[in-house]
């Protein structure tokens, strides 16, 4: 008797579990990003988006805007955010993606080499870069340590938070900025590397895996200085956290590439989404979210929000990503990689 009751209870429990597991539930934390499925049972498609850690704040407004367009009607999104390199390796290792947005170009190149992304992904007008930013220095409210420029980071007792360049794209930009400034755009590599050696060896204590985790560690009290994207600095300032940012006179232009995974299930919709990102309307949304737009007209409108530093180095000044990644960041070979390993192993 009691066996039957037990079995019955077990069946009832599993049935209710399965049923509730089948109940609704969509993809996003933001209610607005959840577009109602197209009426009349029209087929909906889903774009799997893999991105680096910080542009979620932008996509939270861009995705609903895309869904409001004719091309984006009924398109659902599944979004994954994390350390750029880690995300890129996940996609290369088989995680399903239709659209990727990484912090640095080599993370897209990895997918090109894996045959997942078309070789012509960066052939367009903006070279596959829908938005950018600059490297900035985030300090505690009131700037108690008086940080103004790169040299201030090497003052005794200043602890700097920047993520791990082996997983994070943000970390690479953060180290390239002072490297370019100190080496005069790579001409005096030794001076640049000396600076990086002192910075990483004496002032960097923790190795968060992504730009976002670095922010979180900084906000929880670690360190005096956070190196980050300007957009991330704006994001946390707008959230009301007690920090402010200083953009040094010489800094680095961040270009965050986006690409369609041609082998993805929804390449067509992903392409529509990718194209949408470059439209003036979308560019305006990026700018409002704190990212520097690439569309010249929109950029002009927001010029006041994004002051131009005295000297803005670019990756091309250093010879492009291929050279930079090979000579500076490749594991066991690159100069910065070796400095970082020596300091952190």
């Amino acid at each position: 008797m009691s066996r039957n009751r037990l079995a019955l209870a077990a069946v009832a429990v599993s049935a209710s579990l399965v049923m509730s597991a089948c109940a609704g539930g969509g993809s996003s934390d933001v209610a607005g990003a959840e577009a109602a499925p197209a009426a009349g049972g029209a087929a909906t498609s889903t774009i799997d988006l893999y991105a680096y850690a910080v542009p979620k704040v932008g996509y939270d407004t861009l995705i609903p805007a895309f869904q409001a367009t004719a091309a984006g009607k009924g398109v659902q999104f599944q979004q994954s955010y994390g350390a750029s390199g880690d995300q890129s390796r996940k996609v290369a290792a088989g995680a399903e993606a239709d659209f990727v947005n990484f912090s640095v170009e080599p993370d897209v190149t990895r997918l090109v080499e894996a045959g997942l992304v078309d070789t012509g992904w960066n052939a367009g007008e903006h070279k596959g870069i829908p938005f950018g930013s600059v490297v900035t220095i985030v300090v505690r409210k009131g700037n108690p340590k008086g940080i103004k420029d790169w040299d201030d980071l090497l003052e005794p007792g200043v602890e700097v938070v920047t993520p791990n360049p082996f997983s994070s794209g943000s970390a690479k930009w953060n180290l390239l900025a002072p490297y370019a400034a100190k080496s005069d755009g790579g001409k005096d590599a030794k001076a640049g590397l000396d600076f990086i050696g002192k910075l990483v060896g004496d002032h960097v204590k923790i190795q968060p895996k992504s730009g976002r985790e670095a922010t979180e560690a900084f906000l929880q009290g670690s360190g005096d200085v956070l190196l980050s994207y300007e957009n991330e600095a704006l994001f946390i300032e707008r959230k009301g956290d007690p920090v402010e940012h200083v953009t040094p006179p010489q800094t680095f232009k961040i270009e965050n590439p986006a690409a369609v995974v041609t082998k993805g299930k929804n390449a067509e919709k992903a392409k529509a989404f990718n194209d949408f990102l470059y439209t003036p309307a979308a560019q305006k949304l990026w700018a409002e979210a704190g990212f520097r737009p690439v569309d010249a007209t929109v950029a002009k409108d927001f010029a006041a929000d994004f002051p131009a530093p005295q000297k803005l180095w670019t990756i091309d000044d250093l010879g492009g990503w291929k050279t930079v990644d090979g000579s500076l960041f490749t594991k066991d070979v690159g100069s910065i990689a070796k400095i970082y390993d020596a300091a952190t192993q």
């Binding site: 350390a83 390199g85 880690d86 390796r89 791990n164 082996f166 997983s167 204590k205 923790i206 190795q207 968060p208 895996k209 560690a217 906000l219 929880q220 009290g221 670690s222 594991k331 952190t344 192993q345």
Partner: protein
Amino acid sequence: MTATTLPRGDSATEPDPPHDEPAGAPPTREGRRPAATAGRALGLGVVGLWLSVIVLLPLAALTVRSFDEGVGGFWDAVTAPVALAALGVTLGVSAVVALLNAVMGTLVAWVLVRDDFPGQRVVNALIDLPFALPTIVASIVLLSLYGPNSPVGIHLNATRWALVVALTFVTLPFVVRSVQPVLIELDREVEEAAASLGASNLTTFRRVVLPTLAPAVISGTGLAFARAVGEYGSVVLIGGNIPRETQVVSQYIQQQIEIDRPANAAAVSVALLAVSFLTLFVLRVWAGRNQRKEARSS
């Protein structure tokens, strides 16, 4: 005692391998014997396959991959300074946590068994909470109290104290739940006798109670230690993950995966596995010996 306080000294407590067939099985069984034997063979096959696919094969793959770059590569990965530092932090903090548990767990068990106060049953039930609570929740719970917005003004996050608090939280039940049943069954007459012979409470506790409790205290402490060594979820938000300071081995391993050094991750995983396994092995041998001793003396 909950299942989580396992492994027990099974090898010692369990009866000798049971008879395959009940001795003198009645003749009526004879006809079904081949079927039953076949069923058992099938059952054993299923058990073997299940345990292999779920537990053994992954660990075997891990071990093999850890030697991807040869024995030298394995050794280099395990002895990298930051890896060693992570091991040191983990073992040190776990030892502190285990000792704290040994003292406070025994005390709590004593109060729950010998004392009598209103609300005792609620407190008793609460002890199991850390077993039921997801570890990430433990982490966020502790962060909300000891983190940057601490309402009591105590900032522990990203310090070793945070690790101690987090690990003590998740290992709380081990010693309590292993000492409690022993205390309940403790023969109080011996204590009374000791007292009537003029022994002070302290002497009675030291000479009579403690020796009886010791095996339970030690096994609970050992399990708490083993759990602390491998813990991840409860330290992930509050620990700070600072290499050489608060980064525990689990976090180091995860970092190696994230920066695409799977062979390093596998090698350090094998080292960590060896530590926890050794702890449990020592406990099991020790428990077995103890039980044999007890059996002999009774």
